[in-house]
Symmetry: D2
Subunit: 335 residues, 4 copies
Amino acid sequence: MIEVGIIGGGRIGQVHATSIFTRVPNAHVKTLADEYLNENIEKFAAANGVGQCVKDYHEILNDPEIDAVLICTPTPTHTPISIEAIEAGKNVFCEKPIDHEIENINKVIEALKGSKVKYQVGFNRRFDHNFKAVKQASKDGKVGKTEMITIQSRDPEPPPIDYVKISGGIFLDMMIHDFDMARFLADCEPVEVYAEGAVLVDKAIGEAGDVDTALVTMRMEDGSLVSISNSRRAAYGYDQQAEIFGSKGAVKCGNDASSQAVLSDENGVTAEKPLFFFLERYMDAYADEIKQFIDAVENDTDTPVNVMDGLEAVRIGIAATKSCKEHRPVKMSEI
Amino acid sequence: MIEVGIIGGGRIGQVHATSIFTRVPNAHVKTLADEYLNENIEKFAAANGVGQCVKDYHEILNDPEIDAVLICTPTPTHTPISIEAIEAGKNVFCEKPIDHEIENINKVIEALKGSKVKYQVGFNRRFDHNFKAVKQASKDGKVGKTEMITIQSRDPEPPPIDYVKISGGIFLDMMIHDFDMARFLADCEPVEVYAEGAVLVDKAIGEAGDVDTALVTMRMEDGSLVSISNSRRAAYGYDQQAEIFGSKGAVKCGNDASSQAVLSDENGVTAEKPLFFFLERYMDAYADEIKQFIDAVENDTDTPVNVMDGLEAVRIGIAATKSCKEHRPVKMSEI
Amino acid sequence: MIEVGIIGGGRIGQVHATSIFTRVPNAHVKTLADEYLNENIEKFAAANGVGQCVKDYHEILNDPEIDAVLICTPTPTHTPISIEAIEAGKNVFCEKPIDHEIENINKVIEALKGSKVKYQVGFNRRFDHNFKAVKQASKDGKVGKTEMITIQSRDPEPPPIDYVKISGGIFLDMMIHDFDMARFLADCEPVEVYAEGAVLVDKAIGEAGDVDTALVTMRMEDGSLVSISNSRRAAYGYDQQAEIFGSKGAVKCGNDASSQAVLSDENGVTAEKPLFFFLERYMDAYADEIKQFIDAVENDTDTPVNVMDGLEAVRIGIAATKSCKEHRPVKMSEI
Amino acid sequence: MIEVGIIGGGRIGQVHATSIFTRVPNAHVKTLADEYLNENIEKFAAANGVGQCVKDYHEILNDPEIDAVLICTPTPTHTPISIEAIEAGKNVFCEKPIDHEIENINKVIEALKGSKVKYQVGFNRRFDHNFKAVKQASKDGKVGKTEMITIQSRDPEPPPIDYVKISGGIFLDMMIHDFDMARFLADCEPVEVYAEGAVLVDKAIGEAGDVDTALVTMRMEDGSLVSISNSRRAAYGYDQQAEIFGSKGAVKCGNDASSQAVLSDENGVTAEKPLFFFLERYMDAYADEIKQFIDAVENDTDTPVNVMDGLEAVRIGIAATKSCKEHRPVKMSEI
């Protein structure tokens, strides 16, 4: 049984706690730490098999019984807590992105050198049944040699403007998932990135120095092209699609809906909208990433998404941000 | 060039005239005969390459230049005109059904004995791209041995009540197409029929002694089962589907729509309704059945739907009508 | 916290134990009883939060701490255990069918008279997200007045022939789910049933006195018609569909697949097969039925599927069996 | 009756001749001119109602009975013949692109000044039922304000390498249709174009100085973004899709297939591939564009695609070619 400590009792910390309680039989959350611990968190913890709640995450790092920590705090704290946890000999699962600054991520990489702890980054979409099936079809040779990857991500609605301001911008906050997905599906690295952005959803996002609609073209090291589009708002829900097009065909995934029911009436033939909420769409993926992290810890195997994956997605995000600002294609070697 | 005479200048006669004009290069409509010839028909004829219009169809039968006639008059006239035409040595395409009475159809069969003329019955759905694809998949062995055939036909709206009264009833007027489709897809004959009917769409249909909703179960001579459902009204358009289920899988066809456009909005993911009007849905099928009739005449080959097909569909319709009235399964041998 | 005893530690008993452990926070399985208790069951129980395992289910019935029992034993034992449990004051969830004999079910009904215990029958499909969405659309008036219900159930492969022999026949073993679904979707009772059966999948099933392919027509008390088709084997997986057709349109549900991935290649445009295994397709439905049973116990409300639902489905199954044997429509009033 | 002359008796000239013969009742092809007139063309002409065949197209331009000419010759001749035809007072339908050089197109524009003749360019996709439905939904306000347009075009197989060499390059030969589609769907002009190209399908295309895979990003004058992707080869057929995404949702169209048949078997649930051949996919669109041209001539109304549309698509093609070569975003004002 792997004993786990969760640092950060907000939405995503709770998702992971529930996953472990209900779907990861070889793990147990001994301690949940949250600086702003309150009754709601304690109630949640009690109902989800969490051993105890504390305010100071050092109680987790100092607990010799705890094997693994999940870092679910705001992004700026990821790097320092990661380093502390690694130094305390804990296996680490860290939410994405590790950091907005490459030099900080490099410090984490440095800390991992010579250490035996596992480190996994929370790119949950790699564990989604749809994206996995797309990747698998490609791996099985069904589409031949990859020529173009197309990824489309649309959020149901924009985040609060206060969040936008500290988010690092759409490329590091939202499209970072798609950069990771591109690497996952392409099985190689980008060499150049061109980004266009526009403010079409909410002027306040533009006033905050960000864009809400974006289109990125990447050239990969194997010569294939990648197209990624993002919008902060889709009236019909959370839209997450990807396609690999290759010499033998194309494999593509659409969205999940809450049912397969289809209504035929005078208005047309209407299926349900995609699931609206990301926690609903990716519920199983969240459970699976934690399960695989725990298994990697238990069996001493590689984590499925490692610190270098965490670094590369941020590097691409920085390249895209630069491209969008400087209005020119940016080589990855510049970053 | 096959010279054609069309008897009956109503809707379906005009459909065939247009098909020949625009899509059957080896045929020409020399004469169109209509008892109630009027300016509209003449105008239509002029615009669609018809040589001349007459009132009396005997001008067609007596014209030695005419090779083939299309009988597009009301059902009660099909038998006498068929026999006259056969005796005049004309190849005959006759709209469905040949007749509501088996003994009348038998007279046509009798007339055909010893004659060299071709005879085709207007079961247009056999020529529809969707139903043909279902049949072809089965013929190609893709579903293995047929075990169950399911056919669903729903009209967009009921016919005028005056038509219902002389229609012969839903089983001989509407479901007759599905009985033919069942024979076409099964490649064998029914041995027993059980029919249920209900008046759910319009009470006036019940008062006219008919039903507007019907469900038929047939046992085929190869042991497979067939389910046919009919409704006189579907709010979303003209719905025509069929499935063959067998030992290796199932092949099924849905409907055509006017475009592949799909709208995703707050109401759901909405595709277009099926085409509403049967002439639109089956436009290509109507052209193809005439083309194949003309080709059979020209090349002296068998017609794709012959007088026995016309007879069998009517026999099943009579069995279903009897079953519905007597409330018991009816053996085909009783008919 | 509702304390639960599970009687029968086979496949379905384990499904319910896991559901309670992972998804029903207000219940706990204190005891699992299985006459043939073995190491595997004990191992499973330990991993799924079950308090203890015993051989004799009377330990459950005699335990004053246990509020509710789940009867997951073979069908012939459902009635006697139900009655014992009711008399012991336990709330009962009983797997379907309660019994193959109406007089036995009546004994359960008798036992429930004057008792305050809850009784729920395991018609899990009512809790499936797809069927629920179909029912909901109808309830919301989206299809208008119901005119025809079509239900199609195809198992991926036939059960072992030894099971077929004691199964009660396809109408009581397999189609019973569809009879319940018809009542659920129609919100009214059948008045007459006509059943056709055929042996097309496996001759041994015929030799065992059963059929493997069946087609049932029902007339409901509101005048609407129902068509149900069953096959014991579908090469492409577990196929479960239903449609309600009414005056304003139709609502229909298809199957779930393991992903939304679609491959376009030289063979066509290929989506995934339906989920093959019923436990996979209905995993969430199984959890939900137990959750609602526990909630009914906790809140003293009606169970969503009661003993009369259990009775009616069996009555229809008996009527269908009789119709198929006697080759005539059977009125429900005969049963 | 509008009398028509067709200049160029190749594939597309024949398509238009057939369309006029079978689907444009108010027009007649009096003369077909082809420099390399041969027996096949004469045979085709005879079967499709063409009055006469000649070698020298001046016979058409000098014929006072001819109202309209269709220019179906190779691209380099479009400009000179257009100008001659305009000067001869003929209404002109010219295949796309008018020319690869802007200055040549300007000469045509010059020739049209002060003239009353109609001029239409052959962007047939605007007349496709699917793309029209997408445009219509947007026009009807169903997707709100346009934010992103995505267009995907994949040919079933690359053209012969000799054609590639004189084609003007993928952006002027293939993607020019998509540039026109973008303008059609967006109802406004691009202000900047960024193009990436790759040689992934056939090295010989690269050796000919062209690319076979391309990804273009455009910023439109209303601030919206456009993404266009092209491949010269799709193993599954001719793939033509477009989406308009806006503030209220998205409307998208897929491809047509030869039937709606769907096979479910052990390999999955397989629908038919998109139609392989562009003449098949766009047969109705070709007929409709000619019909609308003839109607514009007859009724003295504007043509649906005019010379400025022809110019703009070429300008964008030149901008994209420049962007791809110079590896930077190119402003339309540079062209």
